[in-house]
Amino acid sequence: LTGRRPVDDELFDELEELLIQADLSIHTSTKLVDSLREAARRERLKESDEIKDRLKTLLVQILAEGDGHGIELPTERPAVYLFVGVNGVGKTTTIAKLAYRFKKSGMRVILSAADTFRAAAIDQLEIWANRVGVEIIKHQHGADPGAVVFDSIQAALARKADVVLVDTAGRLHNKTNLMEELKKVGRIVQKALGRDPDEVILVLDATTGQNAVTQAREFMNVVPLTGIALSKIDGTAKGGIVVTIKDELGLPIKLAGSGEQLDDLDDFRPQDFVEALFG
């Protein structure tokens, strides 16, 4: 796909192949390449570079369109952010990174250890709390996650904390009882705060394929998702499925995790992401 070449079917096929290999859905890939063909015909585009740039523009448009892209604290305090997602995607580590960012900017942060199920989940979050220098609210292993969240919010109100970051257990979205448990946690936040959580972040692993769309849909059904944190973009997977998710579900991508350390978290930048797709 480098250098000048004719604008022909072979070029369009290769662009479609690039998108699919980046884990965009077939539907999104075909749709985008069809728009390219149409644009090429209508505007008589003759340069392959023009086609490539047009594709990049289309991708950035999908990703950048609409609101809700940043992580901005609301005026009400404490802000409560819920982190959800399937097993092993990077929820706990992403929370640690965001806590670090907020702490550096002078905020008072409380971590809520609401994964009361997985072996050593609370220990893991506690180590991060100590490293970052923030407080943690935890109960014993096996406790009700809703009770931990409720407690955390009460503590945040009493201590005038700026933000509560809630860690939840990984759960596969096809497990009804686990999704019901999450719905209940969401309701408890509503009751304790008098409003929805300020952010409900779905953490997605960049190595995930088409199943990420189902994950987004199913989690949207039980909690009011406000955006996505795309983790592990430091690998070789492109994470292109977020383009499909943004296009079909409208969920903004807010954050990108690029490593295992506290400073490996950035705001999601559509331009950089699209450049990396072609990288």
Binding site: Q21, G88, E126, I127, D205, A212, T236, A237, K238
Partner: protein
């Protein structure tokens, strides 16, 4: 389903004999779409569809009575054959202990599934030892300890201030003096492009006599599965794969990609977070799942 889609392609056929090239290509296009939707790697799909086409034309089935069913039959046979044909067993060392090591990307399920392996051997009357070789991740050793306690299997660790190779070496001494016949080593998640961490794995493999290296892969892995599997295989010469989180609804096409590209078999699947959630890999069941 693929069956319905192919019936659609071929339904105009019923009143006349023989297929046009267009109809063959339409049928193959449906097969291609199903596999891509299932996360099978793009290039693997291309090769696979090519093989199906060869057989479809070669077997002259397209002039037969029910071409849709015959194409499905070929697709299924090719898929099952590619996935390994039949169940692949775990290795046992002829000079005990049998040493097994898991490896793979972050969060794939190594710690959880190496513990499940330990329980499996314990239930077989063996004396397994778990080794806490992840000296990096916060509370990784604690996680393995907790699982070990749950299943009643000893966990060996020397803390997280020593490097993984030192842990493994010490573990082997302990295993020999303790009479453990299976040593199961947990290691940290790592990227296949992280040279330093990949070299740690190589050093682990060469410093102790590892009988079986199992690449642990998440069933929801997309197109990147081939890169990961290829790199881990080149670095380590893996013996097999554990595909985890198969209790989800990901189609698991990565299984086909990995087998096609490395030739190494999927040996086990993880089917729950619980310690009894480890099952043998059945190629025919996986084929049905991939085809949706």
């Amino acid at each position: 389903s693929l069956s319905d889609k192919l019936q659609n392609v071929f339904q105009k056929l019923r009143s006349r004999g023989g297929l046009t090239e267009q109809e063959v290509n339409d049928a193959l296009r449906e097969v291609r779409l199903v596999l891509l939707e299932a996360d099978v790697n793009y290039k693997v799909v291309k090769d696979f569809v090519g093989r199906v086409k060869e057989r479809a034309i070669g077997e002259d089935i397209l002039k037969g009575l029910n071409p849709a069913q015959q194409v499905i039959k070929i697709v299924n046979e090719e898929l099952v054959g590619l996935l390994g044909g039949e169940q692949a067993k775990l290795k046992v060392s002829d000079r005990p202990p049998t040493v097994m090591m898991v490896a793979g990307l972050h969060g794939a399920g190594k710690t959880t599934n190496v513990a499940k392996l330990a329980l499996m051997y314990k239930k077989q009357g063996k004396r397994p030892l778990l080794v806490a070789g992840d000296v990096y991740r916060p509370a990784a050793i604690m996680q393995l300890r907790t699982l070990g306690e749950q299943i009643g299997v000893d966990v060996f660790d020397i803390g997280d201030k020593q490097d993984a190779v030192a842990v493994a070496g010490a573990a082997m001494h302990h295993a020999r003096s303790n009479g453990n016949d299976f040593v199961l080593i947990d290691v940290a998640g790592r990227l296949h492009i992280d040279e330093e961490m990949m070299s740690e794995l190589k050093r682990l493999r060469s410093s102790i006599d590892v009988t079986e290296v199992l690449l642990v892969v998440d069933a929801m892995t997309g197109q990147d599965a081939v890169n990961v599997a290829q790199q881990f295989n080149e670095a380590l010469e893996i013996d097999g794969v554990i595909m985890t989180k198969m209790d989800g609804d990901a189609r698991g096409g990565a299984a086909l990609s990995i087998k096609a590209v490395t030739g190494k078999p999927i040996k086990l699947i993880g089917t729950s977070e619980k310690m009894d959630g480890l099952e043998p890999f059945y190629p025919d069941r996986m084929a049905s799942r991939i085809l949706g």
